[in-house]
Structures are given as C-alpha cells and as structure tokens.
C-alpha cells in the first residue's frame, strides 16, 4: 500500500490553501524563493519556507541552491500525478453520466 501512503501525503500537502497558492505562483513564474514568494503571500518568509519544505517532501517542488537562498520549481511529473487524481474523479462522473443516459433513454423508449 506504499502508493496509497504516498498519495495521502501528496493530497495533504496540497490540502493547505497557502501551499496551493505557492504552487500557483511557482507554476505562473517558473521559479521562486521563500523571499520572493513571501512578498506575494499573506505570510512570513519563514512560513513560506516551511510550506516549501512540505511540498519538497512529497516531491511537488524541487530546489536548487543559488546564492544564499534555495530556488524552487514545480516538479511537473509529480504535479501531473496530483492533477491526474482529480481527473480520475472526472472519469467516474463520466461513467455515472453514461449510466444516467442509458437509464433515461431506456425509460423513454418504453414510454414511446
């Protein structure tokens, strides 16, 4: 069940609104540091650093050291996994809607 455990961590990492904003900013800008991100978020640089560490822990971002501060980027592959999980919810609605369609059409045919 290793995969499931990883997924739980992944989901809880993106379950926090500030961390989702961090991801949004990194996706938009391509790269960011605790300092640059904190100027655009309602939290301190230290708080941003902690959020980045959580995202780093589940592989959603990767860091490189440039000068005094770590630079962060979104890990596209891991991010795609998170998005794919939400898309899986969509696929299930597709299946439900197809069943709704078949049921309704069968009832319609019976009544015609």
């Amino acid at each position: 069940m290793t995969t499931l455990a990883i997924d739980d961590d992944l989901w809880s990492a993106v379950g926090d609104p500030i961390r989702r904003q961090v991801l949004d900013l990194l996706l938009a800008d391509g790269v960011g540091t605790s300092t640059t991100l904190s100027t655009r978020l309602p939290v301190t640089r230290q708080a941003v650093a902690k959020h980045l560490a959580v995202l780093d822990g589940v592989g959603l971002v990767r860091s490189t050291t440039a000068g005094r501060e770590k630079q962060y980027r979104v890990d596209e592959a891991q991010f795609a996994r998170a998005v794919a999980q939400l898309n899986a919810v969509g696929h299930r609605w597709d299946a439900r809607l197809h069943r709704i369609k078949r049921l309704a059409e069968a009832i319609q045919r019976e009544r015609d």
């Binding site: 949004d24 999980q85 939400l86 197809h98 069943r99 709704i100 019976e110």
Partner: protein, 150 residues
Amino acid sequence: MELGTLEREIHVEATPEIVFEVVSRPEHIREWWSDDASVDPTPGAFGEVVWGDRVKVAALVVVDVDPPRRFSFRWTAPDGEAPVPGNSLLVTFDLEPSAGGTRLRLTESGFRETGWEAAVLEEAFRDHERGWDLFLPRLSSYAPSVVGQR
C-alpha cells in the same frame, strides 16, 4: 489553472422530465451510482448513498429541486458534519431541452474550498469500477420494471 470545479455535459435521448427523475429519485440513483440510496427530492432534506452492506455511506443534503430543470445536492462532508458550503462538494445537474432530448450538464464544485481532501473522499466513494459488462445486462432487466411500476 482551475482545479476547483469539474464540469461534464452529455446529450440524452429522453425528455427532461424523465432525465430529472433518473438523476433525483433514489430508485434510479441506486442504479447509476450507489448500491442503495435514500434521497427525498426536497430542498434541505438529508439523504445518503450506500455501498455494499453499509461498507461505505455518504451523507448528502438536497440543495435545489426545480423539476425538470435543476437538481443539486452536497456530499463528502467530514464524518459527523452536515454538508454545508466550505466542507463539502456541490453536485448540480442542469437540464435543458435539446434536439428532442435533453442536454444534461453536471458540475461538481468545492474542491478548492474544501481542500483537496474532498477529492480523496470522492475517490473513496468510487462506483466499484462498475463497467459496461456488469451494467448493461442489469439495465436491460431493469428498465422495463421501472415502466411497469407506473
């Protein structure tokens, strides 16, 4: 990037009245979604969808009932909490007459507000991956019995 709302649309060759019944009445819901369902199509009414021998139970609360145009409900609230805005997903079916049938639009929103835990809950209430192999034989014996009850 907008991950907060899921939208789907499908054309159904049946009148909006029939489609409305199928999406809102428990005897139909338990055919297209869960193994069992109790839903009173009245705004504010509490209901539930059930899988297996109550192995999984999801509470829901009906929000909008406007036959044959709209049916909506909230679900996936945390255990013990009533589904309200902010802690649950809102599922809305919008129905419009179209080309002799119905254009059925589904939206499920609230993923962003609730944190993505709601998506995990949705995942937990999956339909046992019921495929067409299982579903179609069931449908052919089911549809005539529905009409027979009328």
